[in-house]
């Protein structure tokens, strides 16, 4: 399970960081960064976060 962010879509809204700050970090400049990969048992929350992204920029690879 690997989280990626499409830098060309990300608008830095910060909703992902608000829900999971140990994984996502909004940057002052440029797209949000994935600072650590989430644990397998967080899949359900991740799916919600992906659905909530206003730019559809987050993807989850198996």
């Amino acid at each position: 399970m690997k989280i990626t962010i499409d830098g060309s879509k990300c608008v830095g809204a910060g909703n992902c960081e608000a829900d999971m700050h140990e994984v996502f970090e909004v940057q002052d400049v440029g797209p949000t960064k994935v600072i650590s990969q989430p644990a397998e048992d967080q899949r359900r929350l991740l799916e919600i976060i992906i659905g909530n992204c206003p730019a559809r920029a987050i993807a989850l690879e198996k």
Partner: protein
């Protein structure tokens, strides 16, 4: 409220009998747009309104698709005013308004560039610098709420209309005593561009609009000459560094204008709508009183349930087909964000206000895609501070009995003009606490 049955299955409270007649000006709609939204959704995701000459979009998915499709839809609706201006007004205004687009009207790379430039101060971590000011301002407002009224007061006039403006003045480096004036100017500007004014009302609005722009120009000059520790001063310095040869001052003016307009009424209205929802669904208020840690979840539900920006616009740039409709290039799209937020396909029992729901977070209150609200983290910081303060300090707060708010007439903004509240019995300041829970029933 009228309950006259209509012959074509509209829910009560919907004043239209055909989608082609839809306008945002019908009094029943201004008062409560949600029955109309529901009825429109039952007819299909998109309908053409002849009365407006807009395609009216009501489903969550279609709205989000349009907002995210920068290839086929433009955000530029500069000077596409909701009421038609008489020629003399149009000419006078053309001489005042900068001829460069504001942030909300930019598309593509120029928009991305502007956003990248402006965004630094709006991340949740960067906003920590202003948290203490937000808390101080909220406390001031709560102190004043019942100062004169012997246990009753208008919370819009005393709090929700005041606090976001004071925070914004701090953020932008504008003297706080200018807040009331800027509020009046900003309302006038919104009404001119987005309201349903008569020619005479439009003419009366020209001079205040001139004064507003003149003040903004003057303030940019002052902040350039004497920078403070505020955001606008930093933006001006960065903008000069970025364009050492030829600073485009009209763009700076537009940035200040964008923030002065987007940064207070939206939050004021969210607070008012949220408070109305909480106090008319008393069991939800009581849940917050019992457990203030639910405040962040309650804010999310308020944002979904009754947004302060129930509609926004786009323009089609090419001929296209959407949900079975042929939409010609140049068509204007009226996106009912407030309908998308209650769309049955996204949220179950969306007409109910439930602060503990888990399926409400995909709201389009802050738009979607590249134009997603720049200030959403600041708005949430203010809302959280405000509601946490209210439920802990005034657990028995209640609306004046029988009160029904009225709303200003604007195509894109919605919020109550006033909300008279009462302290209720057993305030904490009266030494309650133990009694508060009993009386909350």
């Amino acid at each position: 409220m009228s309950t006259t049955p209509l012959n074509n299955s509209q829910p009560s409270g919907c004043p239209f009998s055909s989608a082609k007649d839809f306008t945002p000006w019908a009094p029943e709609f201004v008062q409560n747009p949600y029955p109309t939204f529901k009825w429109l959704r039952s007819l299909g995701p998109i309908a053409y309104s002849e009365a407006m000459d807009y395609w009216v979009v009501n489903s969550h998915d279609a709205i989000k698709e349009i907002l995210m499709d920068e290839e086929r839809f433009s955000a530029n609706l500069m000077l596409s005013t909701m009421s038609k201006w008489p020629e003399d007004v149009a000419q006078e205004i053309a001489a005042i308004l900068p001829n460069r687009p504001m942030l909300k009207d930019l598309d593509g790379e120029p928009h991305d560039k502007a956003r990248r430039f402006l965004r630094f101060a709006f991340t949740p971590r960067r906003l920590e610098w202003i948290r203490e000011d937000v808390e101080r301002i909220a406390n001031d407002c709560m102190d004043s709420l019942f100062a004169e009224g012997e246990g009753s007061g208008d919370i819009v006039r005393r709090f929700t209309d005041v606090a976001p403006m004071r925070v914004l003045m701090k953020f932008l480096g504008i003297p706080e005593e200018m807040g009331t004036q800027i509020q009046a100017w900003s309302h006038n500007r919104e009404n001119m561009l987005q309201g349903n004014l008569t020619d005479e009302e439009l003419r009366a609005g020209v001079q205040p609009l001139k004064d507003y722009y003149a003040y903004a120009r003057q303030r940019v000059e002052e902040l350039e000459a004497n920078p403070g520790d505020d955001y606008m001063s930093e933006v001006i310095q960065l903008w000069k560094e970025e364009q050492p040869e030829n600073v485009v001052w009209e763009d700076i003016l537009n940035i200040l204008m964008s923030l002065m307009n987007a940064g207070h009424a939206t939050t004021t209205d969210l607070m008012g709508n949220g408070l109305w929802a909480l106090l008319t669904n008393r069991e939800q208020w009581d849940k917050l009183v019992a457990n203030p840690d639910l405040v962040p979840d309650a804010i999310e539900e308020m944002l979904r349930y009754d947004t302060s920006v129930p509609a926004w616009r786009r323009r089609a740039t090419v001929d296209l087909e959407l949900e079975g409709h042929k939409i010609p290039a140049g068509s204007k799209m009226f996106l009912l964000l407030g309908s998308g937020n209650r769309d049955e396909s996204m949220v179950s029992h969306g007409e109910e206000f439930d602060i503990e729901r888990t399926d409400g977070r995909q709201y389009v209150t802050f738009s979607a895609g590249a134009h997603y609200c720049l200030g959403q983290s600041l708005a949430k910081l203010e809302l959280n501070t405000f509601f946490r303060g209210l439920v802990t300090r005034f657990p028995n707060l209640q609306l004046q009995e029988g009160f029904v708010p009225d709303y200003r007439v604007n195509a894109f903004h919605r919020g109550p003009n006033s909300l008279p509240v009462e302290l209720g019995q057993e305030s904490l300041t009266a030494g309650a606490g133990a009694g508060a829970e009993e009386n909350a029933r």
